[in-house]
């Protein structure tokens, strides 16, 4: 499946309200396709999860891939109050990760800052009719009135999708959870906060679950969670399990480093197996060098041979066999380098952008400001900037490439750096695991784009 510039992207759908006034709770905070791409889950700041399901292509309009329509909506997390610390715990969903499908039901993990929940999403399209002990209204029948027995019959009903929490993993993280990742063994998953990574065991049966805290991994970033908290200068920013090797995971730090840990090497992964860091370019040094080097996302390629990291200005692709520098570096919005002072002042420099691979690992995508998002084709080295906007939201309308002018002269259709809207940031994007369908979260709207099938 080709990616990037080999074809054109066109608008498919947009979900969410059109109002100018965006309710804080509606801001999308995570987007994730499931393993087949049939389901697309979003989490928002209000603690809700909305799952979209891909409808089959319509025979009438075969040129469309089919649309994503709402499949299930549920309240995953509620705001909590930590009485001990006198703190309110935000209900914002930080991450959603799907479990591989093993039976008819779907399972996903959703997490806020402190608590991870395992949800079961199951369909019900039949109901039992003809109970012996209760009548049609559900009221219990008088047993003395029952003169005969009958076998209840299953009757079709309108499809109902139910989400039920099967397990709640609470009180295992002192700091804010930034990542969850399901292991390739499908039996364990990890969760990471600023200073600690926990490994959990999931045992999913029909009824009961055994989830134990297997291992508490306190990685050694100079003794992260140092004895003296005042000595803390580095935190964990993201973590992910290797897609094929169930003993391997990586975690990134606020200093731009990535550590790869092999759980076979030590019970406590306090020593990393590999340490990835690119030497700094002295000519580009500034006061903000450390902040912009902080990695906001790390993702393994589907092949498991590479990993990708996102820092403030760039995306880097690393070969797992080479620790001293990335094999590829893509500039997302280098024109912001001269604006770092202002971006520090208005806090934009702390924005955490995510990144994602396409199904074949030939292209990568990440977001930017002004509702722009960027795609890079690793083979052709071409890149494109597109915009998620209502203006270009006509059905099957081809997205026009955008350009930010950096020099003095601004060409037609270009936008100058100072005109960028830094309130419109695309932090969360997702790429369908197989097809060229992408989901882009722009504040409270979810845009779905697909390639044009000729």
């Amino acid at each position: 499946v080709a990616g990037g510039n080999d074809f054109q992207w066109c608008f498919s759908q947009v979900k969410g309200a059109i109002d100018e006034d965006v309710a804080e709770a509606d801001i999308i905070s995570t987007v994730e396709f499931n393993y087949s791409g049939e389901l697309l889950a979003t989490g928002d700041k209000g603690g809700r999860v909305v799952i979209f399901q891909h409808e089959q292509e319509s025979k009438n309009r075969p040129h469309l891939r089919g649309e994503y329509n709402v499949y299930s909506t549920f309240q995953s997390h509620e705001p909590e109050f930590d009485y001990l610390k006198s703190l309110e715990i935000e209900e914002k969903i930080n991450k959603i990760r799907w479990l591989p499908q093993q039976n008819a039901a779907h399972f996903l993990l959703s997490t806020n800052d402190k608590t991870i929940k395992l949800w079961k999403i199951s369909e019900r399209d039949k109901r039992a009719d003809g109970y012996n002990l209760k009548d049609e209204d559900g009221r219990l029948r008088d047993p003395y009135r029952i003169t005969s027995l009958r076998v209840p019959v299953l009757m079709p009903m309108d499809l109902m999708v139910e989400a039920s929490p099967r397990r709640i993993f609470a009180n295992a993280h002192t700091y804010h959870i930034n990542s969850i990742s399901v292991n390739s063994d499908h039996e364990t998953y990890l969760s990471a906060d600023d200073l600690r990574i926990n490994l959990w065991h999931l045992e999913i049966t029909d009824r009961s679950f055994n989830c134990k805290l297997l291992n508490s991994v306190s990685p050694d970033i100079v003794d992260i969670k140092p004895a003296n908290m005042e000595e803390l200068t580095e935190v964990i920013t993201a973590a992910e399990c290797h897609p094929h090797q169930c003993n391997v995971f990586v975690y990134s730090s606020s200093k731009g480093t990535i550590r790869l840990c092999d759980m076979r090497a030590a019970a406590l992964c306090d020593r990393h197996s590999k340490f990835f860091e690119e030497p700094e370019d002295p000519s580009s040094r500034s006061f903000f060098s450390e902040i912009i080097s902080s990695i906001s996302d790390v993702k393994f390629s589907h092949s498991g041979r590479y990993m990708m990291t996102r820092d403030y200005l760039s995306v880097k692709v690393w070969d797992l066999n080479m620790e001293n520098r990335p094999v590829e570096t893509y500039q997302v919005h280098e024109y912001l380098r001269s604006k770092l002072c202002s971006l520090y002042e208005n806090d934009c420099i702390f924005d955490k952008f995510e990144c994602c691979w396409n199904g074949s690992d030939s292209a990568i995508m990440t977001g930017s400001y002004n509702n722009f998002f960027r795609m890079f084709d690793r083979n052709t080295r071409r890149d494109i900037t597109l915009e998620a906007s209502r203006e270009s939201s006509k059905p099957r309308a081809t997205l026009k490439p955008r350009k930010v002018s950096t020099g003095g002269k601004r060409k037609k259709d270009e936008i100058s750096v100072d005109s960028l809207d830094f309130n419109k940031k695309i932090l969360h994007t997702a790429w369908h695991p197989k097809d060229n369908v992408i989901a882009v979260a722009a504040t409270n709207n979810l845009y779905i784009f697909q390639d044009k099938i000729n």
Binding site: K85, S86, L87, E88, T174, Y175, H176, D194, L195, I221, V222, D223, P226, N228, M229, E230, E231, L232, T233, E234, V235, T237, S254, K255, T257, F275, E277, P279, E280, P282, S283, S284, R285, S286, F287, F288, S289, E290, I291, S294, R337, S338, K339, L340, C341, S342, L343, Y344, E345, N346, D347, F350, V417, D418, L420, F422, N423
Partner: protein, 333 residues
């Protein structure tokens, strides 16, 4: 660029300025400092500040402070009056916030600038340095001090010493840089002396205890007081005994507005331990030097204090005695 309803107070130069001798760099440094301090303080006031954000801001604050501690060029030192400090008001706030002790005297330390070839580079990863500010060709491995289990003490000492020592200027930075290497080049007492004060108590009082897990380091401010060397070391003695002294300290400049800040960098790097972490030669780099000197050549960088011309033999003798005393304290603790 500015978010809605925000008004920028200071116009930072947004352009990339790597030339430290330019006034643009200095104004940007001051801006970054004041913004960082502001952000840090506001972050600490939140019930649960984001740890990542706090760490990044604190690191930036530390780096900006250390950048101010560069060796000046001699002529600049002579001619440059201390710039007005917007930070002054921040220090006042900060004083309340952190219960630090300030002594306010007004001999300003000239903000130090450096030759343009003195660029900073991040130390290699294995160094685990906390301040990615590299300076010059320092042979001594200050990171070795970090292997001392008593991080707080070492950091406290080093912070005191950094305020008093001279930086090496002019050498291309080849060696990895650790926080402690930012050694200051200060004018002697005859030129106005220094303000230095004992480091404040740790943390932010009750708030720290309550939110110890979520709080970053306590920030301290202390000023260089107009003291003699003996007084200085007496203060060191006392403060060394304070076990609770935080690792990260912010030491302010002068009420007169100097933006010279000393930052107590935490000593968490696990660089290789030199054979004599507290060897005299190492510490001699930290010797308080009250006389300014011109940028040193790389060849003489190993012991800048001793080899720089303006140093007086009397200073050395006195420093040596005090250093021995300091060594004893370090060893005993």
């Amino acid at each position: 660029m500015i978010m809605k309803a925000q008004k920028r107070k200071l116009p930072p130069e947004d352009l990339q300025v790597s030339d430290r001798s330019s006034p643009v760099w200095e104004s940007q440094r001051q801006f970054v400092f004041s913004v960082s301090l502001n952000k840090y303080q506001r972050g600490q006031e939140l019930p649960e500040p984001s740890l990542r954000r706090s760490v990044l801001i604190a690191n930036t604050l530390r780096q900006v402070s250390l950048e101010a501690c560069r060796a000046p060029s001699a002529d600049r030192e002579a001619s440059q009056p201390p710039p007005p400090a917007p930070e002054e008001s921040h220090f006042t706030e900060f004083k309340h916030h952190s219960a630090a002790m300030f002594s306010s005297n007004h001999s300003a330390l000239v903000p130090l600038n450096h030759s343009s070839d003195c660029t900073a580079s991040r130390p290699p990863a294995s160094c685990h340095s906390n301040v990615p500010v590299s300076v010059k060709d320092e042979d001594e491995d200050w990171g070795s001090m970090s292997t001392d289990p008593d991080f707080s003490l070492s950091a406290a000492i080093s912070s005191i010493l950094t305020a008093l020592d001279s930086t090496i200027d002019g050498a291309p930075q080849a060696a990895p840089r650790t926080p402690l290497r930012s050694l200051e080049n200060l004018p002697g007492p005859s030129e106005g002396g220094m303000l230095w004060a004992k480091q404040g108590v740790r943390g932010c009082g009750g708030g720290w205890e309550q939110q110890e897990e979520c709080r970053m380091e306590a920030m301290r401010s202390s000023y260089l007081s107009d003291l003699t060397v003996e007084d200085l070391f007496q203060d060191i003695d006392t403060s060394l005994l304070e076990r609770d002294m935080g690792v990260l300290g912010l030491r302010g400049g002068y009420p007169a507005g100097d933006d010279l800040l000393r930052y107590l960098p935490p000593l968490t790097s696990s660089s290789s331990l030199s054979s004599n972490p507290f060897s005299l030669s190492v510490n001699q780099k930290c010797l308080p030097s009250f006389s300014s000197f011109s940028p040193l050549s790389p060849s003489s960088s190993s012991l800048p204090s001793l080899s720089s011309p303006p140093f007086s033999p009397q200073n050395h003798a006195r420093d040596g005695l005090e250093l021995d005393h300091l060594m004893e304290i370090l060893v005993e603790s």
